[in-house]
Symmetry: C2
């Protein structure tokens, strides 16, 4: 079954992305933990994108989008508005490909994030912290400098790039029963769904989201893209609303969707740090929280979990 | 050159230990980080014993010691006094080999540590927190129950077992210029020195220790085992004094020895968490702190660093 043939992103796009971005990204390891399996009651295979360059999967999509620009586009550079992992990812992609990158950031962004973008050679343009101010400033740069806007998730090349994480996972562990990932804008989740359902239709594709930022869950349930209240969750990577392309893909391919509490996210994050000795950010803990909350049933097969990133301010941890 | 032939532990003991303990321990991964190499000015190869069973290298020595007991000894079980990584390690070794383990712990030991030993099926005997009280209690158990005392570091089978971490590292990366490890009781450091100098004499063996717990450094410099003041350092795994066997080995084989400040240990730990996205405990950060403090010069070759463990209370982190 080639489920993806009628969808905006096909498996072939992900294979092309994999070849394209291979020189620039890490093939991240998969880790397992017998103790975590006991605690969570499942045979878990963790795809560790927290070990990816810049500390998150976002470099996959950013590199694919930058590498698909034509010569004229490339010469004018790229722009995005983000204070999170996509900002660093696009900066690195531009640096690796010899392009100029403009990053629109709110003037109240954390010093750590500003520094990491600056270290990667991007030009930072500060603006007010409202979404409107950020979008306007990015539009201005598109107009004035002819830079290409690389949207953090509602961009088909970005979605195809993010799908390479699941592709690597399934190439290494072909007999997965299910795969879990978190949903923010839906770039990773939809890329994952395209890959899983195309390579092996029996894999159940399971989405997870904080209950306090459940716009994607609500859209999926109602069959219509809603624009919910501004999401408020400790999982800062998921404080975005679902993109149109991701919605189209997830509406067709998703098997189940679970939302989780803030307390579970913190507990899950702590559990992974404690048992696996790896640093994951709150967004990465969301699928683990769904396992803690027993939101899914499994038949004893292997369950893949994409740990999306490891960027967190160590001076402001939520552990007590 | 077989430097180890006149020493209490030989390379052949470490090879035997490797075969003996192989079914019970993890072959831990080695990790590298280009960014950390830039920051620290060296080509670093990290041996990740924080991913080892029970979260520390100690299971290597504990398993080797338990597996070398004869039948009569084994039937009476093993005993140690420790509230740290050796307690969990010996408990797991006894569990894996079907032996009884008695662990003498101070009654004020943390709940987390008590629970982890209990989960591994050991019998815990509480006593006052003084060293005298703990040693006395352990002696009583040796007398009354005929259990064998497995000293956490001044035991030749333990030293040979700890040496297997360096052996795996050098088998994977044969062309190291130097290898660094921290010194507490000296079990890991002396096992590492035996392996490195026997397999490849050109490898420089570099010891590191907190300046606030520098009894091993002082003993090495003076050529006589001193018993310093009770060590006080954030690196809780190194709050022990150097053992006689380790002293004998290190006096012959060590090339250089650096001590580091408490502030550097915290900074190094944070750096590893931030950049590598792995959880290491303060003791593991000691050799990284020595690199931060530029205590050693390298000729551009690969430098192995043994990250000894990842057991730390997440509710009491030293980051600000």
């Amino acid at each position: 079954m080639d489920t993806s043939s009628q969808l905006p992103v096909a498996l072939s796009d992900v294979y092309s992305a994999q070849v394209r971005i291979q020189p620039f990204i890490k093939k991240t390891p998969v880790l397992t933990s017998r103790r975590l399996d006991e605690i969570l009651g499942a045979r878990l295979i963790f795809k560790c994108e927290n070990f990816q360059s810049t500390g998150a999967f976002k470099v996959r999509g950013a590199h694919n989008a930058v590498l698909m620009l034509n010569g004229a586009q490339a010469s004018n550079g790229v722009v995005t508005h983000s204070s999170g992992n996509h900002a660093a990812a696009l900066s690195l992609a531009a640096l690796n490909c010899g392009l100029k990158a403009y990053i629109v950031m709110p003037s109240n962004a954390s010093k750590v994030k500003i520094e990491s973008v600056r270290r990667l050679g991007a030009e930072i343009i500060f603006c007010e912290s409202t979404i409107t101010a950020r979008e306007e400033m990015a539009s201005n740069i598109v107009k004035e400098r002819k830079a290409t806007l690389i949207h953090p998730y509602d961009n088909l090349a970005v979605i195809a790039g993010q799908g390479t994480a699941a592709l690597e996972l399934i190439e290494e562990e072909p007999d997965l029963e299910a795969v879990l990932a978190p949903v923010g804008g839906g770039g990773l989740m939809s890329g994952t769904a395209v890959v899983a359902k195309s390579v092996r239709p029996s894999i159940r594709v399971l989405a997870t989201e904080p209950a306090q930022a459940d716009d994607a869950y609500q859209s999926w349930r109602r069959g219509a893209l809603i624009s919910g209240a501004p999401p408020d969750t400790i999982a800062d990577g998921l404080r975005t609303t679902l993109g149109q392309n991701a919605f189209t893909i997830l509406s067709k391919l998703l098997d189940e969707f679970a939302t989780v509490s803030e307390a579970s996210i913190v507990e899950a994050m702590r559990l992974v740090w404690d048992v696996m000795k790896i640093v994951i950010e709150p967004s990465s803990a969301v699928p683990v929280a769904a396992l803690l909350e027993k939101k899914f049933q499994f038949d004893g097969g292997k369950v893949g979990v994409i740990l999306t990133g490891g960027n967190i301010d160590l001076a402001r941890l939520p552990f007590k």
